[in-house]
Symmetry: C2
Subunit: 336 residues, 2 copies
């Protein structure tokens, strides 16, 4: 049915070992034999069976990418970058979507399922339980976390505290004092630090400015457009609404902007809005935001894994921090 290495060996009049060596570019093969074998393999349309070579070598040349979403800006961008970088080195990408939070059955993610299946794992800011983390570590494979650091593994991320601080400071500098925060779900399991850190940055900037935040201006947007919209509506319903809003993601900021438009409030006249990400569509909404280099994070993560797979222990515990940048657009301005 499928052409095997033996078919190639037979028609080339050599042994399978020689074919294997020749085709993989190993030394100790005469140029002539190699050429002949290469040609024959091509003619026959020979493709080595991955399963067989996996079995024999113990390596799969596949990397698992664990992510909570695909259809969200950050994740889609990151996955695309990771895939591209890995494929360039001949690695396949096995996708594992792991819906976050309560929707997920405990134990739905059994890292054991990755055993024997991948050579390395890239985890995109998924909230994992301690058990799951331990399981992952137990695989003793190279692991890189993107968007959050975990001790004992490599990571690539941004400084999310700085993100929150930068955003909030921008608003403070503009003269705002009543600055709301739209964040993630505080009930999320641990190890999902980005929302928490961004909020901490917000608080820290406020504190430095001597501002005591009204707890009612700290609301939840679930990192969705809808959540952002609802959160903004809640903020507008306050006796004394904020004059500025820091949304923990551009998607939530989009929702907030929409709620403001529906409510007939002007931006930034009545309310300033700042997000995080520099989403592709942020410019269209004229949204001020704290940009993060998502593709770079994906590429870096892939590179760290590739280095580890190459046997290079240099980066074994590397925690790479990539820079963020304030992008000022029209959605923020001085308070009325």
């Amino acid at each position: 049915m499928n052409i095997t290495i033996e078919d190639v060996a037979r028609t080339a009049g050599v042994s399978t070992a020689t074919v294997s060596r020749a085709l993989r570019g190993l030394p100790h093969v005469s140029a002539a034999t190699r050429a002949s074998i290469t040609r024959i393999a091509l003619d026959l349309g020979y493709v080595p069976s991955k399963s067989a070579s996996n079995l024999a070598t113990g390596r799969t040349r596949t990397v698992g990418v664990v992510t909570p979403h695909i259809a969200k800006w950050f994740f889609a961008q990151a996955i695309e970058a990771v895939e591209q970088e890995l494929r360039a080195e001949g690695y396949d990408v096995l996708l594992m979507v792991l819906p976050p939070g309560p929707g997920r059955q405990p134990g739905a993610f059994d890292p054991e399922g990755l055993r024997q299946r991948v050579d390395a794992v890239c985890v995109l800011t998924v909230p994992l339980t301690g058990t799951e983390l331990d399981g992952l570590r137990g695989l003793s494979l190279p692991i890189v976390f993107v968007g959050g650091a975990v001790s004992g593994a490599m990571s690539v991320r941004i400084d999310d505290v700085e993100v929150g601080r930068t955003a909030c400071e921008h608003l403070i500098t503009l003269g705002h004092r009543r600055i709301a925060h739209i964040g993630g779900d505080p009930c999320e399991p641990l190890n999902f630090t980005a929302p928490v850190d961004r909020r901490a940055g917000w608080l820290s900037a406020l504190r430095v400015a001597g501002i005591h935040p009204d707890p009612r201006t700290d609301v939840v947007g679930y990192f969705t457009v809808e959540g952002g919209r609802a959160a903004m509506q809640a903020l507008l319903a306050l006796p004394e609404p904020p004059t500025a809003v820091f949304a923990g993601s551009d998607e939530m900021a989009f929702g907030a902007l929409d709620a403001l438009r529906d409510a007939g409030r002007s931006v930034p006249g009545d309310v300033s809005v700042i997000g995080v990400d520099d989403h592709d569509l942020a410019a269209l909404f004229d949204l001020t935001t704290v940009a993060q280099p998502v593709e770079d994070q994906g590429r870096s993560a892939a590179d760290l894994l590739l280095a580890a797979l190459r046997g290079d222990p240099t980066h074994a515990q590397e925690h790479k921090l990539l820079p963020v940048a304030l992008v000022v657009r029209g959605s923020t301005g001085p308070p009325a």
Copy 2:
């Protein structure tokens, strides 16, 4: 290092054959032995080696998903749906991103690479060359195309001619006669019919209405926000700009809306805009659009593959057509 079936067999005091049968729920195993084996396997943390079982059975329980993008709405949504549906049945998803068009080296996609690697393939509206298609067929695996039909394989898609017609008819009904079209790149290779069909629907609706389109109002937007913006700018530069625009995707429509805003034109006062997709953010832009059920398409595609993998030949040549629906929002209205 890793626990093998033999470890389980040994500590259970049975043969590997029995373990294999017991763990896979095959008959001819006493309830007692099965229970004991299951327990021991669990205790030991035994995970069957996929490579080994692939080698032995010839099946990989993996489906390849070929896509030109990840970070674009349609593809991200579709992949997410496909992955979810397949994983629910225990299949893994191997991601292959195949950048479209000129950016891709000829032969960069060698379907042979999928041989021995996957049990079935899901191709998301990628422009494939004839050679690539033949190669794909040569794998003699179940294949499903999403977003375009190809003879000799299953497919799930929408009627893109109807999409174009629906959009254009909506504009005509509103009273427009000078209706532009922003589409894909006409230089794209074949087998990427959606853009072509949508354009054909546009033309057809115009023809029925007795409208002879100005060729200068048929422009290219490359299915990107930027492309849509540039296309709209070109349209506005015409001596007699259109009063309505049909964009072949919401993302292009977003760009068009932005260009209109920049140019100080009101929507729909000066120009009406309609898109295709019902993108998550379409509502935020108040964009009228022709909605397509992307997740349904993904799920259906996965289901067709699963049926085929189950050995069910019923759908072997099925071409599933899913319905579209006009979603009227505020970006379309009567001409001034």
